[in-house]
Symmetry: C2
Subunit: 242 residues, 2 copies
């Protein structure tokens, strides 16, 4: 059973405002939910149409109609769960850190979180106008990776002033990333989908880097921010850990 | 004005069956449409709500209501165009070729076409069960890149039997891509989102390659096929063209 007030709360969690107020977020589908539980994210409630999934007091059996009301997906899955947003530790100046300046698309953020997880990047620092990582689309796209990468939202100028690491920015007119000697520990800044890194932030960085375009035509307009992040992480990791 | 039969034809083009029958595909929005025209794709009709865009006989002014009927997008843009699907030249055995084995997601195919364009890959060879490149979602995602990369749909076993180039496949248990000496000209095969490269195809390839995972946890499940393609193209290009 799911109460009216629970339904109201859960549907409200589609909006960041209510996630911030309540400290909860929603995940859907047995695979994503199991990954988050395995990673130690605290489960508040689980609602499922599958009796066999009910193994604890805060698990509830619901019918398909009730589940559909809770779901954010076009085609509802078999379960919906409410989790507590974990508290982040403070930002550290170690390892490789990815910084996002106003990345707006949930799919891009989700892909970047998965990339961080793959390449052992433990923290992602986002400007306050970057899309929220507990947005349902991000949660569904990242699965367990969201629990393994600490995502911080903060003032980027302040973060960049305080970091002791070398800072790099991805842009169209920097040094060729393939020719640079890249350090093991660094801060890599990726910019907004349409406008790249803002001027204020770019002026604070130690070095601009560019992925060169190949071929005759050279009319390709730009790389997507997620694919550019993939190539940056691949270059930093292969340069330093071989 | 847009006739009833035109409306019917255009909305039918959302389905591959009708694109194959008619040889037409649809693009939306002034930016995408201008890119395709600039690249020499033959325009059949343009429908727009913007009088200033009407500069030829096959351009038609329509009202917003009529445009909305033609549009595949949730929020219709200001213009919808019908283009002729260009005839491909035959597949060549030169340069770097990307091969897709059953990639199903239009967003992934769109991102891969943009990557091919960026890295000067002129042909993309797809299994017949790969998503159609004239699917409206792919067209919107790739913009002009779709006109600069020749996308072929063919039998992969037949293509691989006939190619004279060295063939590589992306998988989870291959050689470390960062340690391999990679040739300038090659065939790179990327697999399906959930299942990777099929066994039949994998057995035909010269070498398996893997992007190594980093970090302590190593629990990241896999990389998305588009981000893996980004890293593969980056590695082949940076290894051979420096």
């Amino acid at each position: 059973m799911v109460s009216k007030s629970q339904t109201k709360l859960i549907t409200s969690l589609q909006q960041k405002k209510y996630r911030d107020q309540t400290g909860f977020f929603v995940a859907e589908g047995p695979k994503v939910i199991a990954e988050l539980i395995n990673e130690g994210i605290e489960l508040q409630w689980l609602f499922t149409v599958d009796q066999s999934e009910i193994v604890a007091e805060n698990h509830f059996l619901v019918d398909e109609k009730a589940l559909k009301k809770l779901s954010f997906l076009k085609t509802a899955n078999t379960s919906v769960a409410v989790f507590k947003i974990p508290k982040n530790e403070s930002i550290k100046s170690i390892g490789l850190t990815v910084v996002l300046d106003a990345v707006r698309d949930p799919g891009n953020l989700g892909t970047i979180i998965r990339l961080c997880d793959w390449f052992g990047v433990q923290q992602l620092v986002c400007s306050k106008d970057t899309v929220d990582c507990y947005n349902p689309k991000v949660v569904q796209a990242t699965m367990g990776s969201l629990a393994r990468v600490a995502v911080h939202y903060t003032s980027l100028p302040q973060f960049l002033q305080n970091t002791t690491q070398k800072t790099y920015g991805a842009c169209m007119d920097g040094n060729n990333i393939y020719s640079e000697e890249l350090p093991k520990d660094a801060v890599i800044v990726m910019g907004n989908e349409a406008n790249g890194i803002s001027e204020e932030i770019m002026n604070m960085l130690n070095q601009k880097l560019t992925i060169p375009r190949y071929g005759e035509a050279q009319r390709a307009e730009s790389l997507n921010v997620a694919t550019a992040t993939a190539i940056f992480l691949s270059e930093f990791r292969s340069a330093t850990e071989m």
